[in-house]
């Protein structure tokens, strides 16, 4: 039981000081708050079932539940195996798959073979069958495996900084030739690359949107050597 501290004896005469605005106001709610042990409604258990009885019943039921679990809960957990519904071609669970691909660089591309475990790329190596590289890679190609798991990698379409659904984005791009007024004021920002596919696409777009302009941005100017030579 909380011991209620004795109220500070007020001086019999002289000035009387108040210690809080509530005391100054001296409302009946405040008087009650000072004198009660707990706020109203917090301490009474008005149910005919006493608190002690309730705890008794609950502990008994927990005990029974424990016994019930002892019977069934000690069994080994049932695990499910979920095979494919349709078997993907050339896939064997537990054996990695290798994909031939190319990593575009500024001036060319590095032929690569990517090892993939259950759909997750795990290692990048050079493509030994390619006459250009004979299986060689550079450190950028080796490290590019980390780019695939980069949390900052663009994973969605954005329009003016807001997330857009793929449908919205494709619809926007589809109508670009109409909405952009033959490309006036329209610019494409690219990084340096000499992919033939990109050159072809660039040409196709230029035919449709003739006045669009193309800019290439590179953070590092690697052409400087060529210009100096």
């Amino acid at each position: 039981m909380k011991t209620i501290p004795p109220t500070c004896p007020e001086p019999e005469f002289g000035r009387k000081y108040w210690r809080s605005l509530d005391q100054l106001a001296e409302t009946p709610e405040f008087r009650q708050w000072v004198e009660r042990e707990f706020p109203e409604g917090a301490s009474e258990w008005r149910d005919p079932v006493s608190r002690r009885h309730f705890v008794k019943i609950m502990s008994a039921s927990f005990l029974l539940a424990g016994i019930g679990l002892g019977g069934s809960g000690c069994r080994r957990p049932e695990q499910r195996i979920l095979p494919f519904s349709k078997m993907p071609e050339n896939y064997v669970h537990g054996v990695p798959q290798y994909y031939a691909t190319a990593m575009p660089t500024r001036g060319s591309a590095i032929p690569l073979v990517v090892k993939s475990n259950d759909g997750r790329p795990t290692k990048i190596e050079g493509n030994a069958l390619h006459p250009d590289s004979n299986g060689g890679t550079d450190r950028f190609a080796q490290a590019s495996i980390l780019n695939l798991y980069d949390p900052d990698r663009a994973g969605r379409f954005a329009k003016r900084g807001n997330v857009a659904t793929p449908e919205q984005a494709f619809a926007f791009l589809e109508n670009l030739s109409v909405t952009s007024n033959a490309g006036q004021g329209l610019s494409f920002l690219l990084e340096a690359n000499n992919s033939p596919s990109r050159i072809r696409l660039q040409k196709l777009i230029s035919e449709k949107i003739p006045q669009a302009r193309w800019y290439i941005h590179e953070p590092v100017d690697l052409d400087i050597q060529r210009r100096a030579a």
Binding site: I81, P83, F84, S85, M87
Partner: protein
């Protein structure tokens, strides 16, 4: 002065020693018997979502294990067949059987059939199916006569002793690789002749294929 303790307490130390020994023996014996995979795993036969009978398919019809478990020779993991594998035959055979409703539904909707796992080695054990199967260890050595099981059950304890017994003497179990999935196969019907041939041919195979008797910890616990 009367005695504080009654007389029978003189025997108390003896009773404690004997009682303790008896209880200790009971606990050890109980754990030895009940807490081993031999008791807890062998005979485990969960109810599967589809009442697929290996006895009918592998036994009676004689379908090779590798028709469905086709990755067993290539991967550490022996795959559970996809629903499409079932439908290869069952789009013709028993087309409208109600027992196959789940398989048809799965093949159509793309949702997996939730088979219940029967055989499971702990995560700290690395077991490679392909290396065993390709070196002449039959399915039957670990999985039992699945071709006679209506519903698959755990046949061997798959405990560490079980693995080591065979790893210490692989010659006692190897068989020609083309007889791996023939679960009834024996060298000879005569048990004595069978044992003789197993020893003779087994040792020859172990030697010729350089089957290693791996007993290092890291062979399985990688």
């Amino acid at each position: 002065m009367s005695a504080i303790f009654p007389k029978w307490t003189n025997r108390l130390p003896l009773m404690i020693i004997i009682g303790g020994a008896l209880i200790g023996t009971a606990v050890v014996a109980g754990a030895w018997y009940y807490l081993t995979p031999k008791y807890s795993k062998v005979g485990y036969q969960p109810v599967q979502p589809v009442s697929f009978s290996h006895a009918t398919h592998a036994g009676q019809l004689g379908i090779d294990c590798r028709y469905c478990h086709n990755a067993v020779e290539k991967s550490w993991y022996s795959n559970i067949p996809a629903s499409s594998t079932c439908m290869n035959c069952h789009n013709q055979v028993l087309k409208d059987d109600p027992r196959l409703a789940l398989v048809r539904e799965s093949a159509q909707s793309g949702k997996s059939i939730p088979w219940v796992q029967v055989h499971r080695v702990p995560d700290f054990v690395y077991f490679n199916h392909s290396v065993h199967v390709n070196r002449g260890i039959s399915c039957v050595e670990c999985h039992g006569q699945v071709n006679q099981m209506e519903e698959v059950y755990h046949f061997q304890p798959l405990s560490m002793t079980f693995c080591l017994d065979c790893h210490r003497d692989p010659a006692a179990k190897v068989r020609p690789p083309d007889k791996i999935t023939d679960l009834n196969w024996k060298w000879s019907d005569n048990p004595e002749e069978n044992a003789r041939l197993q020893k003779l041919k087994g040792e020859q195979m172990v030697h010729e294929w350089k089957v290693e008797s791996l007993q290092t910890c890291s062979a399985c616990h990688r």
